[in-house]
Amino acid sequence: MERRSFLQILGMFSSATVLSSCGSEKDQKKLISYLVPPEDGVIPGEATWSFSSCQECAGECGLLVRTREGYPVKLEGLPGHPVNDGRLCMRGQAALSRLYQNERIQTPLKKTASGFEPVPWDEALNQIRQALQQEGQHLYLSGHTSGSLRSLIDRFCQRFKADYLPQFELLNQASVREANALLFRQRALPGVHLKEADLLLTLGADVLDSHTNPVDWGRQLVEAHEEPGFHWTHIESQASLTGVNADQRLTLKPGSESHLLTFLLNLVVEKGGKRPLPDDFLKVLPDLSVEEAATATGLSSGDLTRLGQRFLAAKRPALVVGGTATTREEGLQTALLAGLIQWCCGMIGTTIDFGLSMATRWGDQRDLTRLQTDLETGKAGVVFLSRTGLASGLPSTHPALTALPKAKLRVGLGLTLDATLEQCDLILPIHHGLENWGDTEPRQGSYGLLKPALEPQFASRAEGDILLDLMQSPKSWQEFLFEQWEARFSQAELKRFSEQGYIEKPVKQGAYLERKAAKALQPLAPVPEELQMLLVPSVRGGDGRSYEMPLQQEIPDPLTTISWGQWLSVSPELAAEKGWQDRDMVLVKLDGWETTLPIKTQPGLPKETLCVQLGLLDSLPPITANAAGEPVLAYAVQSLTRAKGEGPLPILSGSPSQDGRGIIPDPVHHDDHHKHYSIYEEHDRPNYNWGMVIDLEKCVGCSACVAACYVENTVPIVGPEDHRDGREMSWLRIEPYYDDHGKVEFLPMMCQQCLKAPCEPVCPVYAAYNSKEGLNIQVYSRCVGTRYCANNCPYKVRRFNWFDHVPEGNLQRMKNPDLAERTKGMMEKCTFCIQRIRQAKDTAKDEERLVQDGEVIPACAQTCPSGAITFGNLLDKESKVYKLTKSKRAYKVHDLLGTDSSVTYLKPGKH
């Protein structure tokens, strides 16, 4: 063979090999696949953005999905969206891991004697169709569902004469909805206009944790605080993130909420509110003096009097109840009293707006009785369980769960084979929200769009498609949706909806007081004397379901800094009385339930209360319902005794107190600014000096920034063992510091990008150096791992890779492709999201200009619901960040050490 022909053949074969490997195995699609290709085509290395809506809770925030090479790598809030305006909470940030979790069901499954076995879609659907033809009351129970899917389920149920049960949510806020139904004929959770209020009183409602939408609340509270004179009082019987952020926090005995409201209502009636209280109510309203109220609630009469005065003096007060105030036996009573106060003070229609109600069709625990009766009488035919979380929200002994096997066929729809789906005969995998078309209605008149950001990864189907297929409709789910939208929106609206991903059509809604509701008002129940255990929702887990995502446990609880595992919060007084230390195991006995848990003292927790977060317990105590059907999550503790040993609880904070080091200076503290001299030359920074300002007044410790940082920078999740050894990898953390009175301030701590960084001179190989833009650069590939930089960092923000951390399976898709790979033995830390800086600089360079203010926003600043973080160029005297560094509240942490850090904090205490 000749040399030339050899080379020709070689060339032909190798190009053929390259070409053939460019397709994926299934039907030879392109490797980079787009459902909706961007207009300019796919450019490797460039991200595209699409709209979606968060499915993590009923808040349904708008999402912008950042997609690289066909796979979403980051979720951000959708700017302008009526509920979240560009921000996300930590659960929203983490939601991407649901898309890629390895536990996703990949094909339909059928229960057989030997476990679940895959079946083809046709077979599964045929089996359901046949079962639907047979006798019996078919039932459809879903988790929170809004928008067009709800209409489709309605049609489906009409067609097969199935009963679409009200949706199951554990934290259903039924007391407030029931009270509103009784008082105002509106079974709804009204919205709040905080901007118009001058006083916010929240009773139990954990607005910054999980009540309605923490992003919306966080944003609104900051806006409200910009108005002079706004004051927020939070009253609770636990210690929540919400409480510690209020301007004033009061604690009362659990179970005395209705006493407090009776006292307030009496005050309002005495003074004469904006609207009179009808006689029907006056007749049944118990009288309660300050002294009686003080005894019942445990608050001092001084506090009560001041609270009353402040409340009466307010021109436009707003009162919100919920959370632990209503997840109680007397929850309805509390909600009714709150409704009456809202009425008398003229809040309804001004600060409290039924036009902004959450558009839910949630049921309550009484609806489960309906399910249970149908099941137990053997009437139940096909039972659909779609995204319910029934088995994780209820104890396994709950009658609705134990009766499930009596149904003729149980069909489960969901993403993973959770405890609920394990009870089913047929399991149908559905698309994740990011793989699917859809719409949401987070509150009345607001609509959000779901547009697929990637091709379905598995043989899952849209829930809508499954239902349409069962109905033997020729339409697809997408067609059905488009029809719905055409009917709902005008052409102009439709255009806006598709272009901005959301639309708002405000609804006006008045309310009138229903006198007959007076019959529902009961006499005051005595306040329980014994110790009570409360099951509480949390900012990390919500009602517990978000704990299914490992990131939600990797990021520590902001109040206790506990990351992995379950614990019992006890008050410091109780722990001192019993002589218990953090991590000591204790045995809690309730009526018919007991467990051992490690304890953690929680400053600010009332002595009468023990708290456990929802979603962390191995087994739930029995859950009963109150008169409104809201689950009772407060339990009388029968005994609390020391059990053997210590729990392996990772408490990440080394000290709850800042030890008088002025890390968060008190408002009167004056920082002595020292001039520091250096033997080294000043760095030359021609164009940029990146800096950050963090307003501690605005920071609520919600940890959304931490989650955003984890996802943006592919920070590894290392799990409980490493956390117990102190080897968490977080680049950004929330440090809570408690004072002697149990009051806490949060400090977000990340690399301070010091201009005279202690980490730099000690590195023997220049892996750490200062860039021309004032950034403290870490060159991963140059690092040999002496860890001297971490030792010498006064902020302790450097993270060492103790092991190789390779995400498992599909989770590798979450890696941000803009970052360099980190392997074992390397140091890493916050980079101020240098990949975003680089991108902005590239764009600016193409346009032959400098990067403008606001062009670079690191992931933490981008998501912060309260807008506490500002980033920019300190050399630009017009930049927002430069102006903020000149604030009177500005200070730097450990300034005395002369690190000349680029992160400036604004100390709390503006109001």
Binding site: T561, L652, S653, G654, S655, S657, Q658, D659, G660, R661, I663, Y680, D722, D725, G726, R727, E728, R733, E735, Y737, M749, P758, P761, V762, C763, P764, V765, Y766, R782, C783, V784, G785, T786, R787, Y788, A790, N791, N792, P794, Y795, K796, R799, F800, N801, W802, F803, D804, K824, G825, M826, M827, H894, L896, L897
Partner: protein, 432 residues
């Protein structure tokens, strides 16, 4: 006995140690070799799995490894002190110790040099620490004390080796003269053609004096630089100007402790009582006592400095050392280094070898814990209260530490069999 007989006697006595190894010796070698194998196994496991198998963590990024490094470098110091400094000061009692002490210097430096490698996260890139020409124009950071360390320790090792070898030369020639067969051939090469001519002696003495003068400042400089690994940082408990003299005194103190630990059994096993006398031990104990006083003073002075600084983190660091999580170790270090050696003021105890042996073990333990307390306790409680934490060594670190002792004694035992343990020429000098 005329002097020729006496010189002959010295040769016979000293070289007797180089005879066929006994069972006990082989057993000791075997045990040490096992420990070294353990070290290699642990290190290999650490390299393949990641540094996480050690107990070091956040915020305590340096633990037992760096403790061992400073400990072994410290041990090395008394060798140079005895051979070079005492030579310059014309202290004749040094001749009975200097060879053994110099060997100890070289061996412990070899062991010490392992630890900066063992503690690296990516040891396969250790050559990044050397300034070598490369296409990427990468250079080392001469501001970093770790680079100073690289140079200080390698210089020290080089000079110690040369000094040790030069000192050996005349003795190697004696071995060559008295040996036969293969051994003779080996020592023929090793002794570099030493004939003992007057001209050779003239050059030799000049070289030896020069090397002694060259090595003497290293005693101060090397351990000062090791101390700057800590003092140059801003870590409370490390960042203090007294570290250099404090570390040098500590190094000499610990080195002499180790000399005692080695020489007391060695003297008995090799039947060298005639050459290493109680007077010699008496003299060397005076140095031990003196350095102990310096150390005791420093322990007290550190506290004074911390409180004088008025810096919250500094004060709380020293209180933490004495009363916090690591207080037992702090108590051990104060007792073993600052208090217990003071009994040497009593002359009879300075001449009681059994007691001295026990004391030397205490000194070794005390000095190891001193380094542990300085390194670990300082890192455990730095500026940021959120990041306070503690450290417990893992079995890998324990294994490597044990292995380092195994390596030290293995090489040292080999030295005893391979080379003359006392300087025969120097012992002969008074009788020339």
């Amino acid at each position: 006995m005329n002097s020729l007989d006496y010189r002959n006697q010295i040769e016979t006595d000293v070289l007797a140690a180089m005879g066929r190894p006994g069972l006990k010796y082989l057993a000791a070698m075997g045990f040490c070799a096992l420990l070294v194998l353990g070290l290699l196994a642990c290190w290999g496991y650490q390299i393949f799995t990641g540094l996480g198998v050690a107990g070091i963590t956040h915020p305590v990024g340096w633990g037992v490894y760096i403790t061992n490094f400073v400990f072994w470098v410290g041990i090395a110091h008394s060798g140079t002190l005895i051979s070079a400094v005492l030579y310059l000061f014309r202290q004749p009692f040094r001749s009975s110790f200097n060879r053994a002490a110099e060997a100890m210097t070289v061996v412990s430096l070899l062991v010490a040099g392992l630890f900066p490698l063992i503690h690296l996260g990516r040891v396969w890139n250790f050559y990044y620490l050397f300034p070598y020409p490369n296409q990427r124009l990468l250079w080392v950071n001469f501001k970093s004390p770790l680079i100073w360390d690289v140079f200080a320790v390698s210089t020290y090792l080089t000079v110690s080796c040369i000094f040790f070898y030069v000192g050996l030369l005349p003795d190697l020639a004696i071995v060559r003269r008295r040996a036969t067969g293969f051994t003779q051939k080996v020592f023929n090469i090793l002794s570099l053609g030493w004939q003992g001519t007057l001209r050779q002696w003239k050059h030799y003495n000049k070289l030896y004096l020069f090397l002694a003068a060259f090595a003497t400042p290293l005693v101060a400089s090397v351990h000062s630089i090791v101390s700057w690994d800590f003092a140059v940082s801003i870590v409370p408990g490390w960042h203090t100007t007294i570290f250099a003299p404090y570390f040098v005194a500590g190094a000499i103190f610990s080195g002499i402790g180790m000399v005692l630990t080695l020489m007391i059994p060695l003297r008995k096993a090799l039947k060298l009582e005639q050459y290493i006398t109680l007077d010699h031990f008496d003299s060397i104990c005076k140095i031990l006592l003196f350095t102990s006083l310096i150390i005791g003073f420093t322990y007290a002075f550190e506290f004074a400095l911390a409180f004088y600084s008025g810096h919250k983190s500094e004060i709380s660091q020293y209180l933490y050392r004495a009363t916090g999580h690591y207080w037992p170790f702090y108590a051990i270090m104060v007792f073993c280094n600052g208090i217990f050696p003071l009994v040497l003021f009593k002359k009879s105890l300075r001449r009681n070898l059994k007691f001295l042996f026990v004391l030397s073990i205490f000194v070794n333990i005390g000095m190891w814990f001193e380094r542990f307390v300085i390194i670990v306790a300082s890192l455990a409680k730095e500026y940021q209260p959120y990041s306070w934490g503690t450290y417990t060594p893992s079995w890998v670190e324990m294994g490597i530490t044990a292995g380092s002792f195994g390596l030290f004694f293995l090489v040292y035992l080999a030295f005893i069999k391979a080379l003359p343990v006392l300087s025969m020429t120097e012992l002969k000098e008074p009788h020339q």
